[in-house]
């Protein structure tokens, strides 16, 4: 209860949570509010917003309902965000924990690997993975996760480095506990808070990367995603700029909401760093 009240004391964190709930509600209600295929024709092409009943946000260059695409697009963005973040955090924790716990040659090797992945521009690596594995939406979520694990790995490693020589870890070792048990059941719970805070950064970046791929026309063309809609709006930018503008606002709201919630959780978990 105390934690909830402390979270609620930050206006920014509350705004973030409300916005995030709105986006989740959009994703949840998409099938019910817009039961038809969002990529089917709904009216005359390039109907401006607020001019026709039943088409509140107008239509795109082909005549597809923009509001329906934005609601269904929320599903894609959240799906990609959650799956990619899960994978990135999973790999990051595994690499960081093993690296920080064992140290020595294992640590050196894993950190060289992490550095290599940080050196290759992740978006260009992403392009390569898309060419090799295809651009189906679940594949996209997987490959975005596969290029985003380096920062969580470094964070986890740093925590493990400070925790591994603590008394409770030494006593676990003396008891003869297996390494895996010490790593995941004993140290990991104490190492998690900074990594949890980083979840919001990874998720925000994953959503932005998917939308950038879709904008370039390299994502799944058969789904309604915000990036796809912006890419379509680009072709009619001079005459109908709202087609590109509206889904962009949806991306901003989503990413902003995730960042604000992340900030709020950060203040909650690291109260000393919070207000300075």
């Amino acid at each position: 209860m105390g934690a909830l009240r402390r979270y609620a004391s930050s206006t920014a964190a509350v705004i973030g949570l409300v916005l995030l709930l709105v986006v989740i509600a959009m994703a949840a209600s998409a099938g019910w509010l817009f039961p038809e295929d969002p990529l089917s024709l709904a009216g005359a092409p390039l109907t401006p917003p607020f001019t026709e009943e039943g088409l509140p946000l107008g239509t795109d260059s082909v005549g597809r309902d923009i509001a329906a695409q934005i609601f269904h697009g929320a599903r894609v963005s959240l799906l990609v965000g959650v799956v990619a973040t899960g994978i990135a955090i999973g790999i990051g924790i595994l690499v960081g924990a093993v690296s920080g716990y064992f140290g020595g040659a294992v640590d050196a090797a894993l950190m060289r690997l992490t550095e290599a992945f940080q050196t290759v521009p992740s978006f260009i690596l992403l392009l390569m993975l898309v060419v090799i594995f295809g651009s189906e939406v679940t594949t996209l979520a997987l490959v975005i996760g596969a290029v985003s694990w380096t920062a969580p790995a470094r964070l986890t490693r740093a925590e493990f480095l400070t925790l591994r020589s603590r008394d409770f870890v030494l006593s676990c070792r003396t008891l003869g506990m297996p390494h895996a048990r010490i790593i995941f059941l004993e140290i990991l719970p104490s190492a998690l808070p900074p990594v949890i805070v980083y979840v919001s950064v990874v998720m925000a970046l994953a959503i932005l990367q998917e939308s950038a791929l879709a904008f370039l026309g390299l994502s799944d063309p058969n789904i309604a995603s915000w990036g796809n809609l912006i890419g379509d709006g680009r072709r009619v930018l001079r005459s109908a700029w709202y087609v590109a503008a509206l889904p962009g606002l949806a991306i901003i709201v989503t990413v902003l909401a995730i960042s604000l919630v992340g900030q709020g959780v950060n203040d909650l978990l690291n109260p000393r760093l919070g207000r300075r």
Partner: protein, 325 residues
């Protein structure tokens, strides 16, 4: 001498890093359906077994995996990146043709984001927890959440379509046929919006780092000393605080070199700039894996080079840094 030692030490660390990158990329290529020869044959529209055998031995693709790997590393080390299947030209030529635009774009936007981030960050730190700081923080948050390509499109709508102040895309106006200084000015005009678009998200990052670093530095003892000896507030801020706060800024700039290069892909596409990023996008559309591989390797080399330059700047800023350690 100190700088030279630093360069040598960094290079000795970069070579294993590059080796790992090559190994990972090689592994990925093994997962790709078909190899370069399949793609070439597909391009020619024939299916001749003897020809594909001949091509495979020519490209060294018929040996063992280990043999293929050593051949691949050897070719990359001599900058022989093979032929682009889509363009029918050597990949290295295409990359070198496109590289200058990307480098100019990156340097311009990094300089813009860095300068603006410093100035605005100092202002925020100066008025920490008062209304200018709050407004700056909110703006920074908004900018950070904005997809760069969307900002670019909206800038085109405003500055090119509605106001007509700036060109909507391209690197220069070919019809005008400018030469000399007029040509350079024309290119600068074409670069304003792309550099702004690419730099925007990094501006938000630098601003936040600068604010935190300044707030941190201003609590230190030597700041109180500077104030106590009667220095003006401006001198305290710029001579004493700023120089120390710049160190974390420089570190962050190095960390972002690779994501900036990734961002350039998107921005070059928005403004149809003929750079490396646009080449990468074309490579994906054409399924030209060989060219994409070359671009990935060369962009990693570019990131290593940028980091080397940043290390040198860092060493100049902070003479305490011991390069031997």
């Amino acid at each position: 001498m100190r700088i030279l030692r630093l360069v040598l030490r960094r290079l000795s660390l970069s070579i294993p890093c590059l080796g790992i990158i090559l190994a990972v990329l090689f592994f990925l290529l093994q997962l790709a359906p078909g190899d370069a020869v399949d793609a070439l044959i597909g391009q020619m529209g024939t299916s001749d077994d003897t020809l594909s055998k001949l091509l495979r031995s020519y490209y060294g693709l018929d040996g063992s995996v280990v043999g293929q790997f050593t051949g691949y590393v050897g070719r990359l080390a001599t900058l022989d990146l093979g032929l682009s299947i889509a363009y029918g030209k050597p990949v290295i030529d295409l990359i070198l043709e496109r590289l200058p635009v990307t480098v100019v774009l990156m340097v311009t936007s990094m300089a813009m984001a860095f300068t603006a981030g410093c100035v605005v960050g100092v202002i925020a730190a100066r008025y920490v927890h008062r209304w200018p700081d709050t407004i700056i923080s909110v703006l920074g948050m908004l900018v950070y959440s904005m997809p760069s390509f969307w900002f670019g499109l909206m800038a085109i709508v405003l500055f090119a379509v509605t106001l007509g102040w700036l060109p909507a895309g391209g690197i220069s106006d070919l019809r005008a046929g400018h030469t000399g200084i007029a040509h350079l000015l024309d290119m600068a005009k074409h670069l304003v919006m792309p550099a702004l678009t690419l730099g925007l998200i990094f501006f938000a990052v630098y601003l936040r780092v600068m604010r935190t670093a300044m707030v941190e530095v201003m609590t230190l003892d030597f700041m109180r000393t500077a104030r106590a000896k009667g220095l003006q507030e401006r001198a305290v801020l710029f001579r004493h605080a700023l120089r120390n706060a710049l160190l974390p800024m420089v570190t962050i700039a190095g960390l972002h070199a690779s994501s900036m290069l990734g961002g350039a892909v998107v921005v070059e596409s928005v403004f149809s700039l003929p750079g490396l990023g646009r080449l990468a996008q074309e490579a994906v559309v054409q399924r030209d894996l060989n060219m994409l591989l070359g671009i990935t390797v060369m962009s990693s080399v570019l990131v290593i080079a940028v980091n080397l330059v940043i290390d040198i700047i860092y060493a100049r800023l902070d003479p305490r840094i011991d390069v031997g350690a």
